[in-house]
Protein backbone atom coordinates (compact mmCIF):
# COMPACT_ATOMS: atom_id res chain seq x y z
CA UNK A 1 0.00 0.00 0.00
CA UNK A 2 2.90 2.32 0.80
CA UNK A 3 4.47 1.59 -2.56
CA UNK A 4 1.17 2.37 -4.25
CA UNK A 5 1.10 5.77 -2.56
CA UNK A 6 4.68 6.45 -3.66
CA UNK A 7 4.02 5.52 -7.27
CA UNK A 8 0.78 7.52 -7.39
CA UNK A 9 2.50 10.57 -5.89
CA UNK A 10 5.23 10.69 -8.50
CA UNK A 11 3.05 9.39 -11.35
CA UNK A 12 0.19 11.87 -11.02
CA UNK A 13 2.55 14.61 -9.88
CA UNK A 14 4.59 14.47 -13.06
CA UNK A 15 1.65 14.80 -15.50
CA UNK A 16 1.38 18.57 -15.10
CA UNK A 17 5.11 19.34 -15.32
CA UNK A 18 5.41 17.05 -18.36
CA UNK A 19 2.74 19.04 -20.21
CA UNK A 20 4.28 22.32 -19.04
CA UNK A 21 7.78 21.39 -20.17
CA UNK A 22 6.47 20.27 -23.55
CA UNK A 23 4.59 23.53 -24.04
CA UNK A 24 7.53 25.68 -22.94
CA UNK A 25 9.96 23.90 -25.24
CA UNK A 26 7.59 23.98 -28.22
CA UNK A 27 6.87 27.68 -27.80
CA UNK A 28 10.55 28.43 -27.27
CA UNK A 29 11.54 26.56 -30.42
CA UNK A 30 8.75 28.33 -32.31
CA UNK A 31 10.12 31.67 -31.16
CA UNK A 32 13.66 30.70 -32.17
CA UNK A 33 12.38 29.57 -35.55
CA UNK A 34 10.69 32.93 -36.14
CA UNK A 35 13.58 35.00 -34.90
CA UNK A 36 16.85 33.06 -34.95
CA UNK A 37 18.91 36.12 -33.91
CA UNK A 38 17.23 36.17 -30.52
CA UNK A 39 17.93 32.48 -29.92
CA UNK A 40 20.38 33.00 -27.05
CA UNK A 41 17.97 35.24 -25.15
CA UNK A 42 15.04 32.94 -25.78
CA UNK A 43 17.14 29.98 -24.71
CA UNK A 44 18.12 31.44 -21.33
CA UNK A 45 14.54 32.39 -20.52
CA UNK A 46 13.32 29.03 -21.77
CA UNK A 47 15.69 27.18 -19.48
CA UNK A 48 14.53 29.35 -16.60
CA UNK A 49 10.91 28.50 -17.36
CA UNK A 50 11.79 24.83 -17.72
CA UNK A 51 13.43 24.90 -14.30
CA UNK A 52 10.26 26.37 -12.78
CA UNK A 53 8.10 23.70 -14.38
CA UNK A 54 10.55 20.96 -13.48
CA UNK A 55 10.58 22.10 -9.86
CA UNK A 56 6.95 20.98 -9.52
CA UNK A 57 7.89 17.48 -10.61
CA UNK A 58 10.76 17.63 -8.17
CA UNK A 59 8.38 18.49 -5.32
CA UNK A 60 6.36 15.40 -6.19
CA UNK A 61 9.58 13.42 -6.29
CA UNK A 62 10.65 14.71 -2.88
CA UNK A 63 7.27 13.73 -1.44
CA UNK A 64 7.60 10.30 -3.02
CA UNK A 65 11.13 9.86 -1.68
CA UNK A 66 10.07 10.94 1.80
CA UNK A 67 7.17 8.47 1.70
CA UNK A 68 9.51 5.75 0.53
CA UNK A 69 12.54 6.25 2.74
CA UNK A 70 11.35 7.93 5.93
Amino acid sequence: MDNLAVSLAIGIGSIGPALAIGMIASKGLEAIGRNPEASSKVQTNMILGLAFAEAIAIYALVVALILKFV
Binding site: A51, E54, L65
Partner: protein, 288 residues
Protein backbone atom coordinates in the same frame (compact mmCIF):
# COMPACT_ATOMS: atom_id res chain seq x y z
CA UNK B 1 20.72 -8.37 -1.60
CA UNK B 2 19.48 -4.86 -0.91
CA UNK B 3 22.21 -4.27 1.63
CA UNK B 4 24.41 -2.63 -0.98
CA UNK B 5 21.84 0.03 -1.86
CA UNK B 6 22.35 2.77 0.69
CA UNK B 7 19.98 5.71 0.33
CA UNK B 8 19.39 8.15 3.13
CA UNK B 9 17.29 11.28 2.67
CA UNK B 10 19.04 13.15 5.49
CA UNK B 11 22.71 13.69 6.16
CA UNK B 12 24.34 11.45 8.73
CA UNK B 13 26.59 12.38 11.59
CA UNK B 14 30.18 11.32 11.13
CA UNK B 15 31.85 13.04 14.08
CA UNK B 16 31.00 14.77 17.29
CA UNK B 17 33.06 17.76 18.41
CA UNK B 18 32.14 18.96 21.89
CA UNK B 19 28.48 18.11 21.47
CA UNK B 20 28.36 19.67 18.01
CA UNK B 21 27.42 17.11 15.43
CA UNK B 22 29.34 17.25 12.17
CA UNK B 23 27.36 15.71 9.34
CA UNK B 24 28.91 14.28 6.22
CA UNK B 25 27.38 17.00 4.02
CA UNK B 26 28.87 19.73 6.23
CA UNK B 27 32.23 18.02 5.97
CA UNK B 28 31.99 17.80 2.19
CA UNK B 29 30.84 21.39 1.85
CA UNK B 30 33.85 22.56 3.84
CA UNK B 31 36.11 20.29 1.83
CA UNK B 32 34.87 21.72 -1.47
CA UNK B 33 35.29 25.26 -0.18
CA UNK B 34 38.82 24.48 0.98
CA UNK B 35 39.66 22.95 -2.40
CA UNK B 36 38.34 26.03 -4.22
CA UNK B 37 40.40 28.29 -1.96
CA UNK B 38 43.53 26.19 -2.40
CA UNK B 39 43.06 26.40 -6.15
CA UNK B 40 42.58 30.17 -6.02
CA UNK B 41 45.59 30.61 -3.73
CA UNK B 42 47.79 28.44 -5.95
CA UNK B 43 46.58 30.07 -9.11
CA UNK B 44 46.93 33.65 -7.97
CA UNK B 45 50.42 32.94 -6.63
CA UNK B 46 51.43 32.08 -10.19
CA UNK B 47 52.29 35.06 -12.26
CA UNK B 48 49.12 36.28 -13.94
CA UNK B 49 49.90 37.77 -17.30
CA UNK B 50 48.13 40.18 -19.56
CA UNK B 51 49.78 39.33 -22.85
CA UNK B 52 50.51 35.61 -22.78
CA UNK B 53 47.45 33.95 -21.37
CA UNK B 54 47.70 30.35 -20.23
CA UNK B 55 44.90 27.87 -20.79
CA UNK B 56 43.75 27.83 -17.15
CA UNK B 57 43.64 31.60 -17.01
CA UNK B 58 41.75 31.60 -20.27
CA UNK B 59 39.10 29.19 -19.01
CA UNK B 60 38.64 31.14 -15.79
CA UNK B 61 38.38 34.42 -17.66
CA UNK B 62 35.71 33.01 -19.98
CA UNK B 63 33.81 31.64 -17.00
CA UNK B 64 33.93 34.85 -14.97
CA UNK B 65 33.21 37.01 -17.98
CA UNK B 66 30.13 35.03 -18.92
CA UNK B 67 28.79 35.33 -15.36
CA UNK B 68 29.40 39.06 -15.49
CA UNK B 69 27.67 39.33 -18.86
CA UNK B 70 24.68 37.50 -17.40
CA UNK B 71 24.49 40.05 -14.56
CA UNK B 72 24.98 42.84 -17.06
CA UNK B 73 22.13 41.68 -19.29
CA UNK B 74 19.65 41.44 -16.43
CA UNK B 75 20.61 44.22 -14.05
CA UNK B 76 22.41 46.81 -16.17
CA UNK B 77 26.04 47.83 -15.82
CA UNK B 78 25.88 49.89 -12.63
CA UNK B 79 24.01 47.38 -10.52
CA UNK B 80 25.73 44.40 -12.11
CA UNK B 81 29.00 45.45 -10.47
CA UNK B 82 27.21 45.39 -7.14
CA UNK B 83 25.47 42.03 -7.59
CA UNK B 84 28.20 40.20 -9.45
CA UNK B 85 30.29 38.96 -6.46
CA UNK B 86 27.25 37.44 -4.75
CA UNK B 87 25.87 35.81 -7.87
CA UNK B 88 29.28 34.44 -8.88
CA UNK B 89 29.75 33.03 -5.37
CA UNK B 90 26.39 31.27 -5.52
CA UNK B 91 27.11 29.87 -8.95
CA UNK B 92 30.62 28.63 -8.18
CA UNK B 93 29.78 27.18 -4.77
CA UNK B 94 26.67 25.35 -5.92
CA UNK B 95 28.24 24.20 -9.18
CA UNK B 96 31.28 22.61 -7.56
CA UNK B 97 29.23 21.09 -4.75
CA UNK B 98 26.87 19.54 -7.29
CA UNK B 99 29.74 18.16 -9.32
CA UNK B 100 31.64 16.96 -6.29
CA UNK B 101 28.73 14.68 -5.46
CA UNK B 102 29.21 12.91 -8.81
CA UNK B 103 32.81 11.89 -8.19
CA UNK B 104 32.97 8.11 -7.71
CA UNK B 105 33.53 7.39 -4.04
CA UNK B 106 31.29 10.13 -2.71
CA UNK B 107 28.51 8.26 -0.97
CA UNK B 108 30.26 4.91 -1.21
CA UNK B 109 33.39 5.47 0.85
CA UNK B 110 32.40 5.45 4.45
CA UNK B 111 32.61 3.98 7.89
CA UNK B 112 30.64 1.10 9.32
CA UNK B 113 29.93 0.97 12.97
CA UNK B 114 27.80 -1.41 15.03
CA UNK B 115 24.15 -0.49 15.19
CA UNK B 116 22.63 -0.04 18.61
CA UNK B 117 19.35 -1.94 18.69
CA UNK B 118 16.36 0.38 18.89
CA UNK B 119 18.04 3.37 17.27
CA UNK B 120 17.46 2.88 13.59
CA UNK B 121 17.90 6.38 12.29
CA UNK B 122 19.03 5.80 8.76
CA UNK B 123 16.69 3.77 6.69
CA UNK B 124 18.17 0.77 5.01
CA UNK B 125 16.21 -1.69 3.03
CA UNK B 126 18.20 -4.34 4.86
CA UNK B 127 17.41 -2.93 8.27
CA UNK B 128 13.70 -3.07 7.61
CA UNK B 129 14.06 -6.72 6.80
CA UNK B 130 16.02 -7.28 9.98
CA UNK B 131 13.40 -5.42 12.03
CA UNK B 132 10.74 -7.52 10.47
CA UNK B 133 12.62 -10.68 11.33
CA UNK B 134 13.02 -9.50 14.88
CA UNK B 135 9.31 -8.90 15.15
CA UNK B 136 8.60 -12.37 13.97
CA UNK B 137 11.20 -13.68 16.37
CA UNK B 138 9.51 -11.83 19.21
CA UNK B 139 6.17 -13.28 18.25
CA UNK B 140 7.43 -16.79 18.48
CA UNK B 141 9.71 -15.96 21.35
CA UNK B 142 12.45 -18.14 20.01
CA UNK B 143 15.41 -18.07 17.67
CA UNK B 144 16.04 -14.37 18.16
CA UNK B 145 19.47 -14.85 19.68
CA UNK B 146 20.43 -17.25 16.93
CA UNK B 147 19.29 -14.82 14.27
CA UNK B 148 21.31 -11.94 15.64
CA UNK B 149 24.31 -14.17 16.03
CA UNK B 150 23.98 -15.42 12.47
CA UNK B 151 23.69 -12.13 10.63
CA UNK B 152 25.95 -10.16 12.86
CA UNK B 153 27.14 -8.30 9.81
CA UNK B 154 23.72 -6.87 9.06
CA UNK B 155 23.65 -5.16 12.42
CA UNK B 156 26.28 -2.69 11.37
CA UNK B 157 25.34 0.71 10.05
CA UNK B 158 27.05 2.16 7.01
CA UNK B 159 27.69 5.90 7.07
CA UNK B 160 29.17 7.51 3.97
CA UNK B 161 31.99 9.90 4.74
CA UNK B 162 31.15 12.26 1.89
CA UNK B 163 27.84 13.61 0.70
CA UNK B 164 27.32 16.63 -1.55
CA UNK B 165 26.33 19.66 0.53
CA UNK B 166 23.55 20.49 -1.93
CA UNK B 167 22.11 16.98 -1.50
CA UNK B 168 21.26 17.88 2.09
CA UNK B 169 18.13 19.92 2.79
CA UNK B 170 19.91 21.88 5.54
CA UNK B 171 22.51 23.11 3.07
CA UNK B 172 19.99 24.20 0.45
CA UNK B 173 17.76 25.92 3.03
CA UNK B 174 20.83 27.82 4.24
CA UNK B 175 21.58 28.95 0.69
CA UNK B 176 17.93 29.91 0.10
CA UNK B 177 17.84 31.93 3.33
CA UNK B 178 21.03 33.76 2.39
CA UNK B 179 19.59 34.54 -1.02
CA UNK B 180 16.20 35.79 0.19
CA UNK B 181 17.61 37.79 3.11
CA UNK B 182 20.03 39.49 0.72
CA UNK B 183 17.09 40.31 -1.55
CA UNK B 184 15.61 42.34 1.32
CA UNK B 185 19.02 43.85 2.13
CA UNK B 186 19.54 45.02 -1.44
CA UNK B 187 15.98 46.29 -1.59
CA UNK B 188 16.60 48.49 1.44
CA UNK B 189 19.99 49.53 0.13
CA UNK B 190 18.59 50.81 -3.17
CA UNK B 191 15.18 52.08 -2.09
CA UNK B 192 15.63 52.91 1.57
CA UNK B 193 12.68 52.56 3.92
CA UNK B 194 10.39 52.95 0.93
CA UNK B 195 11.12 49.31 0.13
CA UNK B 196 8.85 48.14 2.92
CA UNK B 197 5.79 49.82 1.41
CA UNK B 198 5.81 46.79 -0.87
CA UNK B 199 4.81 44.69 2.13
CA UNK B 200 2.94 47.12 4.38
CA UNK B 201 0.87 49.53 2.35
CA UNK B 202 -2.09 50.98 4.26
CA UNK B 203 -2.45 54.24 2.38
CA UNK B 204 -3.76 53.21 -1.01
CA UNK B 205 -6.78 51.29 0.12
CA UNK B 206 -7.55 47.72 1.13
CA UNK B 207 -6.49 46.12 -2.15
CA UNK B 208 -2.86 47.22 -1.74
CA UNK B 209 -2.89 46.15 1.90
CA UNK B 210 -3.92 42.70 0.75
CA UNK B 211 -1.32 42.72 -2.04
CA UNK B 212 1.29 43.46 0.63
CA UNK B 213 0.34 40.31 2.51
CA UNK B 214 0.54 38.33 -0.71
CA UNK B 215 4.04 39.72 -1.26
CA UNK B 216 5.09 38.52 2.21
CA UNK B 217 3.76 35.03 1.53
CA UNK B 218 5.38 34.98 -1.89
CA UNK B 219 8.79 35.88 -0.45
CA UNK B 220 8.46 33.16 2.18
CA UNK B 221 7.44 30.60 -0.41
CA UNK B 222 10.46 31.55 -2.53
CA UNK B 223 12.71 30.25 0.26
CA UNK B 224 10.94 26.88 0.21
CA UNK B 225 10.93 26.79 -3.56
CA UNK B 226 14.67 27.59 -3.81
CA UNK B 227 15.59 25.00 -1.19
CA UNK B 228 13.46 22.16 -2.51
CA UNK B 229 14.34 22.74 -6.15
CA UNK B 230 18.05 22.42 -5.56
CA UNK B 231 17.79 19.65 -2.97
CA UNK B 232 15.29 17.66 -5.02
CA UNK B 233 17.29 17.82 -8.22
CA UNK B 234 20.62 16.87 -6.70
CA UNK B 235 19.27 14.25 -4.32
CA UNK B 236 17.12 12.72 -7.06
CA UNK B 237 20.24 12.56 -9.23
CA UNK B 238 22.12 10.72 -6.50
CA UNK B 239 19.27 8.26 -6.03
CA UNK B 240 19.04 7.73 -9.78
CA UNK B 241 22.78 7.03 -10.06
CA UNK B 242 22.72 4.70 -7.04
CA UNK B 243 19.77 2.73 -8.40
CA UNK B 244 21.20 2.47 -11.93
CA UNK B 245 24.61 1.44 -10.60
CA UNK B 246 22.84 -1.12 -8.43
CA UNK B 247 20.84 -2.61 -11.31
CA UNK B 248 23.47 -2.54 -14.08
CA UNK B 249 26.91 -1.81 -12.63
CA UNK B 250 28.85 -1.75 -15.90
CA UNK B 251 28.63 1.05 -18.50
CA UNK B 252 24.94 1.84 -17.87
CA UNK B 253 25.55 4.71 -15.38
CA UNK B 254 27.73 6.66 -17.83
CA UNK B 255 24.94 8.45 -19.79
CA UNK B 256 23.23 9.24 -16.50
CA UNK B 257 26.46 10.72 -15.17
CA UNK B 258 26.51 12.98 -18.21
CA UNK B 259 22.89 13.94 -17.52
CA UNK B 260 23.70 14.69 -13.88
CA UNK B 261 26.65 16.88 -14.86
CA UNK B 262 24.26 18.87 -17.04
CA UNK B 263 21.59 18.99 -14.31
CA UNK B 264 24.16 20.15 -11.75
CA UNK B 265 25.20 22.99 -14.05
CA UNK B 266 21.64 24.00 -14.89
CA UNK B 267 20.56 24.00 -11.26
CA UNK B 268 23.52 26.14 -10.21
CA UNK B 269 22.74 28.52 -13.07
CA UNK B 270 19.05 28.61 -12.19
CA UNK B 271 19.75 29.33 -8.53
CA UNK B 272 22.14 32.15 -9.36
CA UNK B 273 19.91 33.59 -12.06
CA UNK B 274 16.76 33.52 -9.95
CA UNK B 275 18.62 35.21 -7.08
CA UNK B 276 19.77 37.84 -9.55
CA UNK B 277 16.26 38.37 -10.93
CA UNK B 278 14.71 38.63 -7.46
CA UNK B 279 17.41 41.03 -6.24
CA UNK B 280 16.98 43.11 -9.37
CA UNK B 281 13.22 43.20 -8.88
CA UNK B 282 13.66 44.29 -5.26
CA UNK B 283 15.91 47.17 -6.22
CA UNK B 284 13.46 48.59 -8.75
CA UNK B 285 10.85 50.98 -7.46
CA UNK B 286 7.27 49.98 -8.19
CA UNK B 287 5.81 53.42 -8.80
CA UNK B 288 7.51 54.67 -11.90
Amino acid sequence: MAADLHISISAETIANVAGFEISNSMFTGSLVTILIFIFIAYFTSQKLQKKKIGIVQNIIEIFVESIFNLCNDIAGNKRARDFFPLIATFLIFILFNNWFGLIPGVGTIGITHPLEIGTTQTVHAAEEEVDHEEEIGNLYGVAEIEETADDGEEHTEFIPLLRAATADLNGTIALALISMILVQVYGVKYQGAKYFTKFFNFKDGPIFTFVGFIEIVSDLSKIISFAFRLFGNIFAGEVLLAVIAFLVPVLAPIPFLGLEIFVGFVQALVFAMLSLVFINMATESHDH
